[in-house]
């Protein structure tokens, strides 16, 4: 048994030494690519993945077929687990989002961000602190004063998601107490605020952009390290003196144990993807800021975001050390 496995391994090693370089350099996309989306159709991760695939197809950047499949379930646990188990397969791609970092921290998954080959962070997805325009909160300071004077409620999607982490980081930086209300989907989140049930929501820009444009809701601050290109009037928390930033990776990863040449091929290809007008338009319509980083730098970013996320979840008591 052991002998046989050694033989297979040796054979595989020989094969990869013999064929890896030419395969990656010239013939690399010689097979069908499977792009797995770990979430359901219509969501943010799905939209980004399908935009990338459409650009790849339209500009013929990938010289073979591309199959897109949704493997939904367990806040990404199912889909990412599926891709992580394809270690060594150079024809597998998947997109990251908040749950790529968050789910392994709160749930017992058989993967973490470290079980993937990082290709690139294509955009970052930060959160807005949003209030009703007819409320008394003209700016973040007014909101902080209200929190010090009494009780404020902040709602966001999910109990241990990025919205809650953002709210907790803000409260820590401002030295305030707040009551967090977890609310399911984007639609109910918006009506919780418009109906006056909660004082503020932490939301993804795309969830509230219609209301912001119409003036019914007002964004007080943005959680990224720099202002968003879509909402240039909204200051960052940092600018306002609340020293934190938090954003989520909208990036692309592949399974582990890949030939470095495959990683390089995809970095080069995705650099072409983000140059296209279609991708730029995607960033604008979805309210994202594009600040791409690649390869090892992306890996470092993932490690840092995960650590920050973990520390906050421990602090709010969602997980134990």
């Amino acid at each position: 048994m052991i002998k046989r496995r050694t033989f297979t391994l040796t054979a595989a090693a020989v094969a990869s030494i013999a064929f890896a370089m030419p395969v990656a350099a010239e013939d690399y996309p010689s097979e069908r690519l499977t792009y797995t989306i770990a979430f359901g159709p219509g969501g943010g991760n799905d939209r980004m993945s399908r935009t990338v695939v459409d650009v790849l197809r339209q500009y013929e950047l990938y010289a073979n077929d591309i199959v897109v499949e949704n493997r939904e379930g367990g806040s990404g646990a199912v889909g990412f687990s599926y891709v992580s188990r394809k270690a060594g397969d150079p024809y597998r791609l998947t997109s990251t989002s908040g749950n790529f970092i968050g789910t392994p921290l709160v749930a017992d998954t058989d993967w973490t961000y470290a079980d993937f080959t990082p290709i690139g962070l294509l955009a970052s997805d930060a959160m807005l602190l949003v209030v009703r325009s007819d409320s008394d909160f003209g700016d973040v300071d007014a909101f902080v004063d209200a929190a010090n004077a009494g009780r404020v409620t902040i709602a966001g999607s999910g109990s241990a998601g990025p919205e809650r982490v953002t709210a907790a980081l803000f409260a820590k930086a401002a030295g305030i107490e707040f009551e967090y209300v977890p609310i399911g989907s984007g639609g109910e989140l918006v009506t919780a605020l418009t109906s006056g049930s909660v004082d503020a929501v932490v939301a993804n820009p795309s969830e509230v952009s219609g209301q912001l444009e119409a003036g019914t809701l007002t964004a007080l601050a943005f959680s990224d390290s720099a202002r968003s290109t879509n909402n240039p009037d909204v200051p960052t928390f940092k600018e306002l003196g609340y020293d934190f930033s938090f954003s989520l990776p909208r990036g692309i990863v592949m399974p582990n144990d890949l030939d470095p040449a495959v990683q390089d091929w995809w970095i080069a290809t995705l650099k072409k993807v983000i140059e296209t007008p279609e991708w730029q338009e995607y960033l604008v319509t979805n309210g994202m800021s594009g600040n791409p980083i690649w390869g090892d730098e992306f890996a470092a970013y993932l490690a840092e975001t995960s650590a920050q996320y973990r520390a906050t979840l421990v602090e709010i008591g969602a997980i134990t050390e």
Partner: protein, 512 residues
């Protein structure tokens, strides 16, 4: 006001009735019916899969086609509810309660015609209401917070009692099973996992589709085989348009003339509220119908009104769900969430300004829904002989096909084998429920509504600092609380009253 509506609609019709618009509307409606026919393959998945087909089309035309798939599936979805007792989605669960018994009584033809007419009626009333009320309704939906949602869901849960069948005790047990399944998954408040046993597939909870297909579809098959139905020769149902048996009787129309209106009105209001609009609408529509009927004992045994009410309601609700989507950018269901994604893909920003910035789009879509409903009723009625033919096939040959469809449907949810196991398990449970007189409909609906009720209740509880003051402090909540209390108290008060009356009359008899 009327002049505004007329000019808006003529603008819309100029888009929707263009040759290209009409062609893709027909394609969308047709695909929607097909999507609805497959149990487990709902409108959300259908629209998502077919979005790539619309690349290269003009945005308005593309959305008209995708919306056609959405409301078209409401027509198709009932066909399986009636013919094989398998609702394709939660909005058609209520339609199986009387739809399937109708087919068993040999009235599949009239049932299918009536469901098409009810769907058309509900859908059209819904569109008329959107046309007239869209701007003012948006404010109504925006005033709904967690406390209001909880109360609406609580009304829906109360209505469950009317679906529990004759034995209320068994009905309660059935609903409790549904609530229990609903607790599986991540707890919304703490983020802790409940009853997942370390399985990542269960973190998101048990999706009702696999449970519904199992309880209804597989459970029904097992029960039929248990009764030896597969040994009986197929009954030849010869159905053609010339046949008198094909069309609903004069009595069917006469009895349900008000049902159409009630179902549509209830469905539309439920649809406007984000959440589980069409499902809640169809449940409440059914229950109200049973409550107002002078002969409620006929319901559940193949009563036409019991089919018309939920059908008018779920189609009106699918139209109503367009109101928060178009006016607030708030999706009320999985399918409208996918539509919202499609809007964004074409650079249409849903929100209060959509109707101002893109009137051709909004009114084009609304106008297309008038035409779409007309196309769908024609399509449904012409295709009925084809669907009814299905019942001519000997049962021995039908069973494997249905099992295959059910398994594919369950697997397709997440491309995971876990749902297939859930299907098998629910199939066995469904068989036992049918055999011993429990109510699978109560289980499925408790599963859908239970977790929503839990979430919204806890949200209200946190917001009002561990009290329940929110339920009467907010005006809309107060009104809903009063409605809820009235629904609970009235039957009790009535029974006490009648007991007192009964008591006094007995006493009168006792003293000559």
């Amino acid at each position: 006001m009327l002049a505004d509506i007329a000019s808006n609609l003529s603008l819309g019709l100029s888009v929707a009735a263009s040759p290209e618009g009409f062609l893709f509307l027909v394609i969308g409606a047709f695909l929607g019916m097909i999507v609805g026919l497959f149990p487990g393959f709902g409108p959300a998945a259908g629209i998502a899969v077919l979005i790539p087909m619309t690349f290269g089309l003009q945005p308005t035309i593309a959305i008209i086609m995708l919306a056609g798939i959405y409301y078209g599936s409401m027509y198709g979805g009932t066909i399986t509810s009636i013919l094989i007792n398998t609702p394709g989605e939660s909005a058609t669960v209520a339609s199986t309660i009387d739809g399937y018994p109708l087919a068993q009584k040999g009235r599949a033809g009239p049932a299918l015609v009536m469901q098409a007419i009810a769907s058309f009626f509900g859908g059209t009333i819904g569109v008329i209401l959107i046309t007239a009320l869209a701007p003012s309704l948006a404010n109504f939906a925006a005033s709904f917070g967690p406390s209001e949602y909880f109360l609406i869901i609580a009304v829906g849960l109360l209505m469950l009692t009317t679906m529990m069948g004759d034995n209320k005790f068994k009905g309660f047990i059935s609903a409790l099973i549904g609530f229990a399944i609903g607790t599986i998954g991540v707890d919304v408040m703490s983020g802790q996992q409940r009853y997942t046993f370390g399985s990542p597939e269960l973190i998101g909870g048990v999706y009702f589709v696999a449970v519904a297909i199992g309880l209804f579809g597989i459970g029904e098959l097992l029960h039929c085989i248990f009764n030896g139905q597969h040994r009986q020769p197929a009954k030849r149902l010869r159905i053609s348009f010339r046949d008198k048996e094909f069309w609903p009787s004069r009595n069917d129309y006469h009895e349900s003339r008000w049902t159409f209106w009630r179902g549509s009105a209830i469905g539309f209001v439920a649809g406007v509220l984000p959440g589980s609009g069409a499902t809640l609408g169809s449940i409440i529509g059914y229950s109200v119908e049973k409550k107002v009927a002078k002969d409620p004992e006929k319901f559940g045994k193949g009563e036409m009104r019991g089919l018309v009410a939920p059908e008018a309601a779920n189609n009106a609700a699918s139209a109503g769900a367009m109101v928060p989507l178009l006016s607030l950018g708030i999706p009320g269901s999985g399918a409208t969430a996918v539509l919202l994604g499609a809007f964004l893909m074409w650079g249409l920003q849903p929100g209060p300004l959509l109707i101002v910035n893109d009137p051709e789009f909004v009114w084009g879509l609304i106008a297309s829904m008038y035409l779409g409903n007309m196309i769908l009723i024609a399509m449904s009625i012409f295709a009925i002989p084809l669907f009814v033919k299905f019942l001519d096939i000997p049962y021995v040959n039908v069973v494997p096909v249905i099992v295959l469809l059910c398994v594919i449907g369950a697997f397709a949810i997440n491309a995971s084998i876990v749902e297939t196991w859930i299907l098998v398990l629910s199939g066995l449970v469904g068989f036992a429920m049918k055999k011993y007189g429990y109510s699978p409909a109560a289980t499925v609906l408790a599963l859908v509504l239970g977790s929503m009720a839990e979430e919204t209740f806890l949200q209200t509880y946190i917001i009002s600092q561990g009290t329940m003051n929110l339920f009467w402090e907010r005006p809309v909540s107060l009104v809903l609380s009063i409605v809820l209390l009235t629904v609970i108290v009235t039957p009790i008060a009535l029974s006490i009253l009648s007991r007192i009356k009964g008591g006094t009359s007995k006493m009168n008899k006792g003293t000559p």
